[in-house]
């Protein structure tokens, strides 16, 4: 999974925040050009780290990795016409998907977490922030990111196993359906992963745009235990359907 040219994308995606954090650290340490502020009020490194977690990791990197790797678990094998070799082995078809899914979780987790930790150590000391004080929040962040990768990966593994062209559906779900539904009051937001995942975030949601302010207005935060339970149910159901789709579906290889 990692030894391919596509890993360049993964490297850029996860290296981007680290490079940005390093640049911010260098510029703020050597010049007075940049000052961390919200509405003119000075803030510290922990607030900047919280914002980077929201904007870069929770809203973008975790869903994108889920879409990219989740949808390609089976679709890549179909595109490369190698799925036949897997299906001729004496292994249940569903087990192949689950095995590939676990590989996805292991790989992405082992790459995302170091990126977050590097950003944490680069950014949190800025403006007098204390690494020790905010360390428990970092652990919560890491746990939340793992849960997010697991949940999004499972949902998009199902989409990838079920549909012939899963990418558009995945992008519509991650960047169309979820942000839109979170803006509305009511029950609709409960049909998203983001609703439960955002309840696990220990940082305040940034109000960086009109959409974010609306989101903040209609934001209901379910209890952590409830969120974890729902996410576990989502993962179990999505993986069951994904495995069932792989068992039953006849994949037609394009000539």
């Amino acid at each position: 999974m990692l030894w391919s040219r596509r890993s360049v994308f993964l490297g850029l995606l996860l290296g981007g925040p680290v490079v940005l954090a390093a640049a911010i650290r260098i510029v703020t340490a050597t010049t007075s050009l940049w000052r961390l502020s919200i509405n003119g009020a000075r803030v510290g490194g922990p607030a900047l780290f919280g914002m980077m977690m929201w904007l870069l990791y929770i809203r973008f990197i975790v869903p994108v990795l889920g879409v990219f790797y989740g949808t390609s678990l089976i679709a890549d094998e179909v595109d490369d016409k190698t799925i036949t070799y897997l299906f001729t082995r004496p292994v249940p078809r569903g087990a192949i998907l689950i095995g590939k899914y676990l590989a996805y979780v292991a790989c992405t987790t082992l790459l995302v977490l170091p990126s977050v930790i590097l950003v944490y150590f680069l950014v949190v000391p800025l403006g007098g922030g204390s690494i020790g004080e905010s360390f428990p929040a970092l652990l919560e962040d890491l746990g939340m990111l793992i849960v997010g990768l697991i949940a999004y990966g499972a949902v998009f593994a199902w989409v990838g196993a079920r549909l012939k062209r899963p990418l558009v559906v995945g992008l519509v779900f991650a960047f169309g359906w979820e942000p839109a539904v979170l803006l509305f009051p009511g029950y609709l937001k409960q049909v998203t992963v983001a609703y439960y995942l955002q309840a696990l975030v220990p940082h305040a949601m940034p109000q960086d745009s009109a959409v974010s302010i609306l989101m903040q207005m209609f934001r209901e935060v379910p209890p952590v235990a409830t969120s974890l339970t729902y996410l576990a149910v989502i993962v179990a159901i999505a993986l069951w359907f994904a495995a069932r789709a792989v068992e039953l579906k006849e994949y037609v290889l394009e000539q």
Binding site: R35, L36, D79
Partner: protein, 279 residues
């Protein structure tokens, strides 16, 4: 048993004039996409905001209680902004595989062995994407302008905002060409349409997220030029004569977009070749 002549026969079909071969690629691509029900569904959904706006204009023109809904130049700008999400989905659906699928099937060599230049090939592919993107940006915005005149029964709004038609046209074409060039360049970089789609999503959303972080750090919005969607927003405001939303001068946003299109052109020049010479 008849014996058919299997010998050489001259081509008796029509021959496209030089420089028109791109039309064949474009029309074939458009037909292929129109044959996909999922894509037609996406196009239909993309037109929903148009119908909402049409109802708004109708209500403002006919119901005195709804006069506050009267159309303004800002409404047309907001309409084009609302269409951005559909532009994204249509670009990914229609554009991701345009060159990537040909590379995957090794069809590029076959294409370019015909009387077809590389420029015609690229232009044909670009025409497919721009056709559908204009169908959800320029066409509905222009029709909205017509709807306004029809429902109001006069040309007062149209004449007092005479710059709206050129503004809609310039912005829609700028947006479509920029997005189309970026997607084609990405499509030429890989054999996998799925990978291209994700790269394009990253180009858009990741640059937006980076800008938001930098906005937080710098305390102003002067770095909005790093994000393609924000460059287009800034230029859109300038074209529609609205107050600019970011501190970046609109000229800088234009330079960023031109640089992106030029870079896309260079990538396409390098990647769209009949043969790859390996040194």
């Amino acid at each position: 048993m008849p014996i058919h002549d299997q010998g050489y026969r001259r081509y008796l079909g029509g021959r496209a004039p030089r420089g028109r071969a791109w039309v064949v690629i474009a029309s074939a691509g458009v037909r292929t996409l129109l044959g996909k029900r999922a894509f037609l569904g996406l196009l239909l959904i993309s037109w929903l905001p148009f119908f909402v706006r049409a109802v708004q204009i109708y209500a403002a023109a006919n119901l005195p209680q709804a006069a506050f809904l009267a159309p303004t130049p800002l409404m047309f700008r907001q309409f084009l902004e609302q269409q951005e999400i559909f532009v994204f989905f249509i670009t990914v659906f229609a554009g991701a595989g345009l060159i990537a699928n040909d590379r995957r099937a090794n069809a590029l060599q076959i294409y370019l062995s015909k009387p077809l230049t590389r420029a015609e090939y690229v232009f044909g592919k670009l025409a497919i994407l721009t056709t559908f993107l204009l169908l959800v940006t320029w066409v509905p915005a222009f029709v909205l302008l017509v709807v306004q005149v029809a429902f109001a029964g006069n040309f007062t709004f149209f004449v007092s905002n005479i710059y709206l038609f050129p503004a809609i046209t310039v912005f829609a074409f700028l947006q479509v060409v920029t997005v189309g060039a970026a997607m084609l360049a990405l499509s030429s970089l890989s054999n996998s349409a799925r990978y291209v789609g994700i790269l394009y999503a990253a180009l858009l959303f990741f640059s937006q997220a980076l800008f938001r972080v930098l906005q937080f750090v710098t305390g102003n919005t002067s770095l909005s030029w790093i994000s393609l969607p924000f460059d287009l927003s800034q230029l859109g405001d300038a074209i529609f004569r609205l107050p600019l939303r970011y501190d970046t001068p609109w000229v800088l946003s234009l330079v960023a977009i031109v640089a992106l299109v030029v870079a896309a052109g260079l990538v396409l020049e390098r990647r769209v070749r009949g043969i790859e010479v390996v040194a």
